[in-house]
Symmetry: C2
Subunit: 214 residues, 2 copies
DNA sequence: CTGCCACGCATTGGATCCAATTGCCAGCCC
DNA sequence: GGGCTGGCAATTGGATCCAATGCGTGGCAG
């Protein structure tokens, strides 16, 4: 059975997002190929794609590895999110359908019902990215998605060391945002979203141990 | 002589940025391979990379083409620049050396001496991107560079139809920005830069013919 | 004359083979 | 004993071959 480049890329993304490939780890083509039952070629090409997306670093003749990010890099990436996601939300809001808002309710209810860290990460991610996708601007969505992908590892580490109070804060902020979305209040929605991201960033900065920088 | 993937990607980027490959044009692997004296493989891989960067669209089994962007897409991409570039500038300013500012002077002097559209595009690009690179955040620089790359075609079309008054405005705004940089005034620099991009975006919106949307 | 199906060409995608580069380790010279 | 050098193993990179996909064209039937 032949395995396509797209499929390999997908699997590798999942492995990195799922934390099965941690920063610093080398990604050997042969190894991945065997594991997925593919030949090396689609793996090579998938790695080139992921390199262009920033999910792996690819030094010629040396191979690919999952990059370490410094605390400052992640900090700046959160600042990028703080700038871009309110824009994405504003561009999306005119196109949001009632069904989209219902789905947000579902996700948030599920989060509040109490879920594992892994489920929380997935649901939180869907909560945010789903609100932006309606804007229909590929470049914007791809950029935001890349920011989420590259920082996922550190978000996980952060959630694992922070207590339930962190969840309460997130839940409250999500509810505020959903309320503004329900009212169609673009100003408030943007403000709440930016504040949510900014506060998360500041909170992250209190935990250098997440980055091995304590 | 064997040609590397990196080199092919570089050449293709240059061809697209230089306008030799216009939106809508197909990019056939065989053709590019012959033209660069490479085999098809590095071309394939380069195209995968460019696809991940958004410089080409790549539909499986159908091939790559340079994407058309709608006026709205470019508008949103300028809004992204308006959000991201002041951030990049703020992150860079603490690291800017006197030599960097001198280089900006050189570039701006050259622009004002009167240059062709093609030279203007290159110099303007260097003027801006150079001010950001000192920040040292790869993800931020790559994102901003992608925005410049993907919109270059439309910037060229815009410059070609706009008269010299457009240049005067740009020059004045560049000088204001340089002045703020020289003073180390981060607030003003960010404000001038954001305004510069915003006004350019608004000006672009007055010319739907650039996008074939009149 | 028109619509549909089948065949063939053009092009892309994957597998395999071989070359080139890197890193490492041993052995040797200073 | 330390450092340099040469060669070997591991891994990546490129070329070529073959399969699969898509698209256009031409012929045949209605």
């Amino acid at each position: 059975m032949t395995v396509t480049t797209q499929r390999v890329a997908e699997q590798l993304r999942k492995a990195i997002l799922g934390g099965h490939l941690a920063p610093g780890e080398r990604v050997r083509q042969e190894e991945v190929a065997q594991q997925l039952g593919a030949s090396r070629l689609p793996v090579r090409e998938a790695l080139q794609m992921l390199a262009a997306e920033g999910m792996v670093e690819h030094e010629p003749n040396k191979g690919a590895r999952v990059p370490w990010l410094s605390m400052r890099e992640v900090d700046v990436m959160y600042k990028m999110r703080e700038q871009l996601e309110p824009l994405a939300l504003a561009e999306s809001m005119p196109f949001l359908l009632p069904g989209d808002l219902l789905r947000l309710e579902e996700i948030q209810d599920e989060i509040e019902a109490g879920v594992s860290v892994e489920q929380f990460l997935a649901l939180d991610r869907e909560f945010h990215l789903r609100t932006y996708s309606a804007c229909g601007i590929d470049h914007l969505n791809a950029t935001v998605t890349r920011l989420w992908n590259s920082t996922q590892y550190y978000r996980r580490a952060f959630m694992q060391i922070s207590g339930p109070s962190r969840r309460w804060v997130v839940n409250a902020e999500h509810r505020l945002l959903m309320d503004a979305l329900g009212r169609g209040d673009e100003i408030d929605a943007g403000r709440f979203l930016a504040g949510h991201i900014r506060r998360t960033r500041i909170e992250l900065n209190r935990h250098p141990e997440v980055f091995g920088e304590d």
